[in-house]
């Protein structure tokens, strides 16, 4: 029988790590990985694969680890997952592959994510011999360099297409770069994946907003097909009084100032940030956890305010645990009603107590206001992390693109085909805020469909 518990992963101590932005989880050593890999039963009917949004052959790669064939294990993962060093770190495995692992019934599931990360990091030193088809003379444009766009670019470049990748910001990576902090996903990991995409011959053009700098229809004249992976980058606010007071940030602004612009290193970097002693983060997802943990590292006392209870927190379990270890407070079942301030700066939040009612369309019990129960909190800084919507720029400036109720682009779920011939889309711009692996999976499916379209000319 395999051991009931997984091999723990070494981490920086909470007391140390709240003073730096270095990676929290340190990864498995070879011995640790071998020990953990040994727990995999290599089930005849593996359930873990069903749990993986991109269907990685998990038992196969773990068997290769057991045989110490790490390079082969890496290739096995790469058949399905173009960014293993990233997904090994940020996938919500507890809701995916690890949830369906048979060991989860009696003990802890195999630490699939950690093994994936081990393999990806182990192979880092080896420059991968890049195999790609000879140029086929066909041109592809990809819009947005998040996980969806990076995947499409790499997949099609490998098939011999000449790919141009357009990005609105000055750096590639999408949320991986401007949203997820260094202590969860170090920038050199993203750089490594991006360098690989470049090495495949993909041309990267930053500072281009498709729909403004170049219209989508103009791209269609020059390129055989276009993929839109523009993400869900528009922040949602609470729409309550006082929300524009100084000291109130959207999580996107707060995290971009740090992750993209390096404001924590002001004045070495020019972009400033103002953060007070008492920080309130509104929300309960990964974005809220990241905002809270960044604030903690900047020396603040941090409270997360979430409108449902602990059980419904949508963030990755591991990150919730780490946030708690780092001394972040949680106030559940409450939501802001109004902000007020002094001299323009926020100092008080009036909150409404909530209780849980019937499950809503997301399957979670919906919060309803508790009559007459309000309370106030004293704050210096507030970060709103209650969600993001698809960025509307492309939808607004493109004719004939079918758009849904929340601004998402409507596509065929298998191929990513939009209502406009030659245009594909995938990732958060289609699904709304989701996950890295789903964005990547959508990118991969679209790449295949684009290849088929350009080979057969049949839409």
């Amino acid at each position: 029988m395999p051991r009931r518990t997984r091999v723990p992963m070494r981490e920086q101590n909470p007391e140390d790590r709240i003073k730096n932005f270095d990676e929290v989880a340190l990864g498995y050593s070879e011995d640790e990985a071998l020990l953990e890999a040994d727990r995999c039963l290599n089930c005849p009917k593996p359930r873990c694969i069903e749990g993986c949004p991109v269907g990685i052959d998990i038992p196969a790669f773990i068997s290769l680890i057991k045989e110490r064939k790490y390079r082969e294990a890496y290739r096995k993962i790469k058949e399905r997952d173009s960014l293993p060093a990233i997904t090994g770190r940020v996938c919500p495995q507890e809701n995916q592959c690890e949830k369906t692992c048979v060991l989860a019934r009696t003990g802890e599931p195999v630490a699939i994510g950690r093994l994936e990360r081990f393999v990806a990091d182990y192979c880092v030193e080896d420059i991968q011999e890049i195999k790609k088809d000879p140029p086929n003379g066909k041109r592809i444009a990809v819009v947005g360099s998040g996980p969806a766009g990076l995947t499409v670019s790499a997949d099609l470049a490998k098939l011999g297409y000449s790919v141009t990748l357009f990005e609105a910001l000055h750096l590639p990576g999408g949320v991986l770069t401007y949203g997820i902090p260094d202590f969860r996903l170090p920038k050199d990991i993203i750089k490594r994946e991006f360098d690989y995409v470049r090495a495949l011959g993909v041309e990267f053009i930053p500072n281009v907003v498709v729909g403004k700098t170049i219209l989508l229809d103009e791209l269609l004249k020059d390129y055989g097909a276009v993929f839109i992976g523009s993400g869900a980058g528009a922040p949602v606010f609470l729409n309550v009084p006082g929300e524009n007071l100084l000291g109130i940030y959207s999580a996107n602004e707060f995290l971009s100032r740090i992750n993209l612009m390096r404001a924590h290193r002001f004045p070495e970097y020019d972009t400033p940030l103002r953060i007070g002693k008492k920080v309130l983060v509104v929300g309960g997802g990964n974005v809220a956890m990241d905002s809270a943990r960044v604030s903690r590292r900047l020396g603040a006392d941090v409270t997360i305010l979430y409108r449902r209870s602990r059980e419904e927190l949508p963030a990755r379990l591991e990150e919730i645990k780490r946030a708690e270890e780092e001394g972040i407070n949680f106030v559940f079942l409450a939501t802001p009603l109004a902000f007020s301030g002094n001299n323009g700066w926020v100092d008080t939040v009036e909150c409404q107590e909530m209780e849980l009612g019937e499950p809503d369309e997301s399957g979670r019990r919906s919060p309803i206001p508790k009559k007459g129960s309000t309370f106030t909190l004293k704050v210096d800084t507030v970060i709103i992390a209650i969600g993001n919507r698809p960025n509307p720029i492309i939808a607004k400036t493109t004719q004939g693109l079918e758009i849904g109720r929340h601004g998402e682009i409507i596509v065929d779920p298998i191929t990513g085909k939009t209502s406009k011939v030659g245009v594909f889309a995938g990732g958060d711009i289609v699904s709304g805020s989701a996950t890295v692996i789903e964005a990547m999976g959508a990118g991969r499916r679209s790449a295949m469909a684009m290849h088929k379209y350009l080979t057969t000319k049949v839409w």
Binding site: T213, S256, D270, P272
Partner: protein, 275 residues
């Protein structure tokens, strides 16, 4: 990329620069703006494109050196490159025939208003321009605006040139004595507020071009939000021009001061370094 091909000082602290940016030169429309980064560790700041040359792929910016980023930009010389230039951002100004238009420009707004003024003139509007400055030495671009406008008024606070007083002085006279179909004010927030307050009483449609602090310029951060008609708007994607009678200027001016301490520090360190 983004090479500086020409540079000219227009006054003590106002610089005009011509930059290679072919994609922007091709697509920019009056009223839109760009975001630039001077160097890798720099801030992203918004600037207006004053003129563009599609054929040569060039854009012209005019900026006032007010803080670290604009001072660093002012130090860049012909032949050097900027780290990032991105755009166009924001919406084009609604160019059409309004009739009798008054443009009010102050500070670096004098340059920012040029592309809109040209376009409005081309579709047959009658254009009266009021340019305001604190003192004579700060005036620039009056010849450019003069050549576009049917009539030009210049005011200085201290009376060293033109009419002594604020831009609202000739504006009030025009409002009292002529029929005006639209007013566009571009310049310091306090000036745009004063213009809007004045024209409100006359019920004359008034546009202002807002200048909050920005980061991405694509609607991603919400840092540029303002309240217009009681609703939150993002200036970079919903603006930058809005109906001046509906803008909450107090909130905008407050938000512009968010980083005043850090801005001072950055400037001080820069000056020490240069000394």
């Amino acid at each position: 990329m983004y090479k500086i091909v020409d540079k000219k000082r227009l006054s003590d602290n106002v610089v005009q620069m011509v930059i290679e940016a072919p994609l922007i030169a091709k697509s920019i429309k009056p009223g839109q703006f760009i975001i630039i980064m001077v160097y890798e560790k720099g801030e992203r700041i918004p600037l207006t494109v004053v003129t563009s040359d599609k054929e040569k792929g060039l854009i012209t910016i005019v900026f006032q050196e007010v803080g670290k980023t604009t001072k660093l930009l002012g130090k860049k010389e012909i032949g050097e490159e900027l780290y990032a230039v991105m755009g166009p951002n924001g919406n084009p100004f609604p160019i059409k025939y309004y009739g009798n238009i008054v443009l009010v420009a102050g500070g670096v707004g004098v340059a920012e208003v040029v592309p809109i003024a040209k376009a409005l003139k081309e579709v047959g509007n009658y254009i009266t321009t009021i340019v305001g400055a604190r003192t004579k030495d700060l005036l620039f671009f009056t010849d450019v605006l003069g050549s576009i406008s049917n009539k030009l008024y210049i005011t200085t606070d201290d009376g060293t040139y033109g009419i002594k007083g604020l831009v609202t002085l000739p504006l009030k006279e025009l409002l009292d004595n002529t029929h005006i179909d639209m007013v566009l004010a571009v310049g310091p927030t306090i000036m745009m507020r004063a213009v809007s307050d004045l024209t409100r009483g006359y019920n004359v449609k008034t546009y202002v071009s807002l200048n909050p602090i920005m980061i991405d310029g694509t609607g991603m951060c919400g840092g540029c939000r303002v309240t217009v008609d009681g609703k939150t708007k993002f200036v970079c994607v919903d603006g930058p021009e809005f109906d001046g009678h509906l803008v909450n200027f107090d909130e905008l001016m407050m938000r512009q001061k968010t980083y005043i301490e850090q801005e001072r520090l950055a400037l001080k360190l820069l000056e020490e370094k240069n000394a």
